[in-house]
Symmetry: C2
DNA sequence: GGCTTGTATCGATGGGTTTCGATTCAGTGT
DNA sequence: ACACTGAATCGAAACCCATCGATACAAGCC
């Protein structure tokens, strides 16, 4: 059996430790747990639409009062989804007077994009077997 | 029953020529639903580690017999997670003799990276960043 | 054919998630 | 102070998911 162990790099460093990305080296357990929280926040169609509405809005900010009526869901439900996105570090909220405004935190989406991007030194291995 | 559903993203009706990404325009409902399936597949620490093990392995393929003992989980559980990653279009499997080998489908991770990447024409609306 | 090993599927279960109505909190205006 | 509106929090109910043991399927070996 080709039972070859996966060496897990013991870098339990802070949240801004060196990140080689998903595709370069096996993820450590704690890194995987931390990342999974963010991806789980993206794993819901309502939250994805909320995030895209916030991120694509000219001016960078959206009032909750504009988001809630865009769905056929109750106000507490939208508030709950926004909370999950906020706890995942994807958005931030600010209250200005009566209304609460949300904005994208691009550091997180940048980080995810980097994690999912092949590095130049990572060859592709799939020479010839890709179906279409 | 073996519906190896290859999730096709953002295909409203044409080839993927215009895919603005999450951050450029609000997602349509069906696009969000399909994208959410893939992110949901990534929203589990075990699946993230499995994917990173598969993606980072030199040669591009990993035998299940190497993946299963790397976790303190039962063999059916690992098989279940691999199935979800496969149905999300992130990996593919091939049986060669006794063993089954998995490999990354880089089109999907590439697509996700693109979706999470700010386009150059999409400025950042710099506002006061961290609430000092 | 039987035996052994590797992998996938099945059925059940405990825990988590989505959603709601009701309530509470925050801010504005009267 | 009171009333009104926008948003968050609080249970609760329906649903989904991760995990397991048991079982079935696949391939090689005796």
């Amino acid at each position: 059996m080709s039972n070859q162990e996966f060496v897990v790099l013991g870098q339990g460093g802070g949240p801004d430790a060196c990140r080689p990305g998903l595709l370069a080296a096996p993820l450590a357990e704690d890194q995987a747990a931390e990342l999974a929280k963010v991806f789980k926040a993206l794993g819901d169609p309502v939250r994805l639409r909320l995030l895209s509405m916030i991120a694509s809005r000219a001016g960078g900010e959206v009032c909750v009062c504009d988001l809630t009526p865009a769905f056929e869901l109750s106000q507490p439900t939208i508030s709950h989804h926004l909370k999950l996105l906020r706890e995942a570090g994807l958005i931030a909220s600010e209250r200005r007077g009566t209304w609460v405004h949300y904005r994208l935190l691009p550091e997180m989406t940048d980080r995810l994009a980097g994690i999912l991007t092949r590095t130049a030194g990572q060859p592709l291995h799939d020479s010839g077997e890709v179906p279409a």
